[in-house]
Symmetry: C2
Subunit: 259 residues, 2 copies
């Protein structure tokens, strides 16, 4: 199993606080020693960092913590390998281009037989089930929509349908972004939390760290954080029901599909 962390915000926001909590689970308070990665959207571009080393000991993780990169959409993952050996190409998140946009994907779980699904445009570079599933999903989106659909809701329904098909193969918790929205699918375990004015204090579970968001935000800021397990112990996280797909845009949940 692995842990996921995502963020959607209405203004570019840094994820230092939540990332600090997650990184502890990468070999310190948690067993996820088999690498980690993070993707930050910035304009139409996307900045990714990957490291097959445990995040709690990673030089690159320390840079990401110190150097507060501000982004409207972030996807991060720490890995405990079950399928696929420990190496850079098996380290989430994975990314591909579709319609001239960066798509990014990170997965927690296992999908039995997913590699029997035929691929066309996109091929995995590594050997994980997860990257195969991502390639298949993008292939299907591309076949269905050779160009981006006019209404976002058409794309959301398509992703929901594909998520449901893959979910039938095993455990499929994932975070996905098409550069416009962040999709969060709960196979078995995923929680989220929206912070907005009036902001308060938050305390990390995995590190001795307290932040006062009031001092760090403006009253207009809206920021949603999504994580496998809640990262703070003094805020009200929403636990997603298994099989649900939530869509986040500009910090808010804009849609949720039940199982």
């Amino acid at each position: 199993m692995c842990e996921l962390l995502g963020m959607s915000a209405n203004v570019p926001t840094d994820i230092c606080f939540s990332f600090t909590g997650l990184m502890q689970r990468g070999g310190k308070t948690g067993p996820h020693r088999d690498g980690w990665g993070i993707a930050f959207y910035e304009g139409r571009g996307c900045r990714t960092f990957h490291d097959p080393k445990p995040s709690a000991e990673s030089e690159i993780a320390r840079l990401v913590q110190r150097y507060a990169i501000k982004s409207p959409i972030v996807i991060s993952h720490i890995r405990r390998a079950n399928r696929g050996r420990i190496c850079l190409e098996n380290t989430h998140p994975f990314s591909r281009e579709l319609w001239g946009r960066n798509w990014v994907f990170a997965h927690n779980g296992q999908l039995r037989g997913v590699k029997r699904l035929a691929l066309d445009h996109y091929r995995p570079i590594g050997t994980t089930d997860s990257e195969h599933a991502f390639c298949w999903l993008l292939d299907r989106v591309r076949d269905r929509f050779p160009r981006p659909p006019r209404r976002s809701a058409e794309l959301w329904r398509c992703v929901r349908q594909l998520a449901r098909e893959l979910n039938a193969l095993g455990v499929f918790n994932f975070l996905l972004s098409d550069a416009a929205h962040l999709y969060a699918h709960c196979g078995t375990q995923l929680s989220w939390l929206t912070r907005r004015a009036p902001f308060g204090q938050a305390r990390l579970m995995d590190a001795d760290m307290l932040v006062d968001f009031q001092a760090e935000t403006t009253p207009e800021d809206i920021v949603t954080v999504i994580a496998t397990r809640p990262l703070t112990d003094n805020e009200a996280w929403t636990v997603m029901p298994p099989g649900a797909l939530a869509v986040f845009g500009a910090g808010e949940r804009v849609a949720e599909f039940a199982a």
Copy 2:
């Protein structure tokens, strides 16, 4: 104009010395203030760092200098924007997946009318001529070889033909890798140098830095460095003739096609 830096080696090698020289040209000894990027192959994976800030002032550039990432193929670029605004998505090198392999591309020059070339599988994310040219080139390789050709030389000839077509549109100095080989095309300006035993000292032109490669290598190491302009002033660089395409593998030049 921009500056390119590439490396091909027979064992994973760090590029700290050459990168230190190049980074000075990004806003200090050179005018290339409009961002920089670098890609390191590692197994089948590829690690990229991009920054739209001047390299001489970049926090991420300092990490790359300090944290000696070892790789058999590296492509780096510092940018002085002519077409396309300064932002992350316009920062080289660009990358795409083909045949389950990472392809990476960086370009120095301008290509008139390149955006009129129709694209199919790959679409640019940013607005540079360079990324459009890369997408077109990969489209053509993909059409010609739906699977990787058995003999590498077939692919080299295909890349050479495509490089020639694009070169007719303007200035086309580029570095390209298909994860197996490094292609260096000289439109107007590109030089390279192979270091092998007996190793000696090298002195950077752009920074007060001398390295004794004898102390840092084994007698079996073979490392080629390719750069827009020579980076050291006490070694014999080979200046490529305009229109030539050289192919490097495991540190050695394995082919060169004349204009």
